[in-house]
């Protein structure tokens, strides 16, 4: 009798979703097996990396993270173009930091104007990441949905508290939405059901499980994402068969550890430390099932691209 390697019995498939439009549209998802289990199924699209751009100059970034973007951090358009032209970004994730009512509280028209300029300047898919303030996100994302009609933007966070208002605008102007829930599989499923009830088509939906970085509870994020994939792939749970996006760089680069100077607490070179924390966090999440990783440092991105290439090499 020959030995047969046991195989997972898959009964479902992650939906393949197209982000953006035109030549630079990016397909994500489509897996028929657990992440990188190429011996059991297919992973037609490798995990994609979206590069993080802020809509206002960052004030608290570590030196290591600022260095690659010297001269462009006060101009989101130049910043986004640099990511695409110099660092080969396939997707841009524009963080709408300026609209935070507890921060700069930039007005709707001004914020939407900046977003429109970025959307016009780059042809790769554009993710707009709001501030998790239901009212402000609703105002800005609704305005920009109309202003950028036809561009298939990717709009996030769409949460239970604002899903009707933001979801309806995205639906009306045909943008992709990302359902965002606080790291809980039941809530994730519930919000996807609600968005489905609202009429958001399955090919315009991505999930944000809310993640953290290494040292800040990433194990729990891993478990929740793993459960999402188990439900989607082995339990035919249609409401969890959506690609997953992880906004990892913003979490990693705000930790205390990346801000400590060289050799503080015997933690070695600050630049290397930050890059490795970002890369390792992103890798963990890729292994858990991330289809899109939002990342910041070009060297961390390079490491992840190499790892993904090796893991998916035939």
């Amino acid at each position: 009798m020959t030995f047969e390697i046991p195989k997972t019995a898959y009964s479902g498939k992650i939906r393949e979703i197209s982000l953006g439009k035109g030549d630079k549209a990016v397909a994500v998802g489509g897996e028929t097996s657990y992440p990188f289990y190429l011996f059991e199924g297919e992973m037609p699209n490798k995990p994609r990396i979206a590069m993080e751009v802020w809509d206002c100059p960052p004030e608290d970034w570590a030196e290591a993270a600022l260095e690659p973007f010297k001269g462009v951090t006060d101009d989101p358009v130049a910043w986004a173009k640099k990511c695409v032209d110099d660092y080969g970004a396939e997707i841009i994730a524009l963080e709408l930091i300026s609209i935070d009512p507890n921060g700069l509280d930039r007005g709707v028209d001004e914020a939407a104007g900046v977003i429109k300029k970025v959307a016009d300047a780059v042809d790769v898919p554009l993710i707009l990441w709001g501030t998790s303030n239901h009212d402000k996100d609703t105002e800005v994302l609704r305005a920009v949905s109309e202003l950028c009609q036809g561009k298939n933007l990717i709009i996030v966070p769409v949460e239970e508290g604002d899903h009707k208002r933001i979801g309806a605008a995205a639906l009306a102007y045909h943008h992709t939405v990302i359902s965002s829930t606080p790291i809980d599989i039941n809530l994730a499923k519930q919000l996807n059901i609600l968005l489905g009830n609202l009429g958001v088509p399955d090919d315009l939906l991505v999930m944000d499980p809310t993640v953290s970085g290494i040292g800040y509870g990433i194990e729990y994020c891993y478990s929740v994402m793993e459960r999402m994939r188990m439900a989607g792939l082995t339990q035919q749970d249609e409401k969890l068969q959506f690609p997953i996006i992880c906004n990892v760089s913003k979490e990693v680069w705000k930790t205390k550890e990346v801000h400590l100077p060289d050799d503080e607490l015997n933690m070695g070179d600050a630049k290397k430390r930050g890059i490795l924390m970002e890369a390792m966090s992103a890798m963990v999440l890729a292994l858990a099932g991330a289809d899109v990783l939002i990342m910041r440092h070009p060297e961390a991105i390079k490491l992840i691209r190499e790892m993904i290439a090796e893991l998916t090499a035939s």
């Binding site: 599989i185 039941n186 809530l187 499923k189 519930q190 059901i193 609600l194 009830n197 439900a231 339990q235 749970d237 409401k239 969890l240």
Partner: protein
């Protein structure tokens, strides 16, 4: 099945103040309506009752006994209050509950023998919540051993495996039926109970009954002796009294893996099928589980 009615509780917005102000009316009303609804026991939960808990418990027990002869289940973490209640109980009381916490064991096991009461053996370990069915078995052995040592026979012990919310951790939901299937072998003669409403904690209020009723049937299959319940759920009471055998049979069949054609079922049957699938972990819980 024995139904322990849960609603005389210090957490209630009306009964809590009534207990503190010694106003018998709302408490007696609640007692009477629960009796009419089909309760077999009335639970009296006065909470931690740190200050003058003994006076409060004695007063509430007497107040309730003025309007009913049903046996009472006394629920407080204050052993002095517990004893004050036991002293005045006219029927065999149920102590709710004794866990493996050393101070609870030492303070309350002697009361079970002294007042010839029954006790709920809550499978809460020294490290808190048991992680799975096996730890529940371990805790059962420990608690029964300690109780036997104190002269309490198995027949007086009602084991509570601790139900936890379906929206929190499905493996814990699956662990209780699994444990119940082993209880008879581990602790012959022991009875069982469960704080049923906890299964639906966090679910939308108008849908909680679906989870409570279905989970009760799932546990009944393995010999659940009693449950602490919302006795105003009339459908739940009917099930417990054996008046809905078709539904019980349907739940059993779905537990066994049968996938009935939903289009051939009534709305109520479909809801039971969907709820069993959620509680067995075949389908992931979400607040809209009945709609998909």
């Amino acid at each position: 099945m024995i139904l322990i009615a849960e609603s005389i509780n210090v957490m209630s917005k009306t009964l809590g103040p009534a207990m503190k102000e010694r106003d018998p009316k709302p408490i007696q009303e609640m007692a009477k309506t629960q009796v009419e609804a089909g309760a077999d026991y009335l639970d009296i939960n006065i909470g931690p009752a740190r200050r003058q808990g003994d006076e409060m418990m004695e007063w509430v027990v007497n107040t309730v006994q003025e309007v009913t002869d049903l046996p009472l289940s006394l629920d407080t973490t204050n052993p002095v209050a517990m004893e004050a209640g036991l002293k005045v109980c006219r029927s065999k009381a149920l102590i709710n509950s004794i866990s493996l916490q050393p101070d609870r064991l030492e303070a309350e096991l002697p009361l079970v023998s002294k007042y010839n009461a029954d006790m709920i053996g809550l499978l809460w370990g020294i490290d808190g919540m048991p992680r799975d069915a096996n730890e529940r078995c371990m805790h059962t052995v420990d608690i029964v051993y300690r109780a036997n040592e104190a002269g309490i026979p198995n027949e007086n012990i009602w084991i509570d495996p601790i139900a936890s919310p379906v929206s929190v951790e499905i493996n814990q939901v699956k662990a209780c039926p699994e444990f119940m299937s082993m209880l008879g072998d581990i602790a012959p003669g022991c009875k069982s109970t469960v704080g049923l409403s906890n299964i639906s904690n966090g679910a939308p209020a108008h849908l909680r009954g679906h989870l409570n009723r279905t989970y009760m049937i799932m546990l009944m299959r393995y010999g659940l002796y009693s449950a602490i319940v919302d006795v105003f759920d009339t459908e739940l009471v009917s099930i417990a009294k054996g008046q809905m055998p078709e539904i019980i049979d349907l739940v059993y069949r779905v537990m066994d893996g049968e996938r009935p054609d939903l289009s051939s079922l009534s709305k109520k049957e479909v809801e039971y099928v969907k709820t069993v699938r959620v509680l067995t972990g075949d389908s992931l819980y979400s607040d809209s589980w009945l709609e998909i």
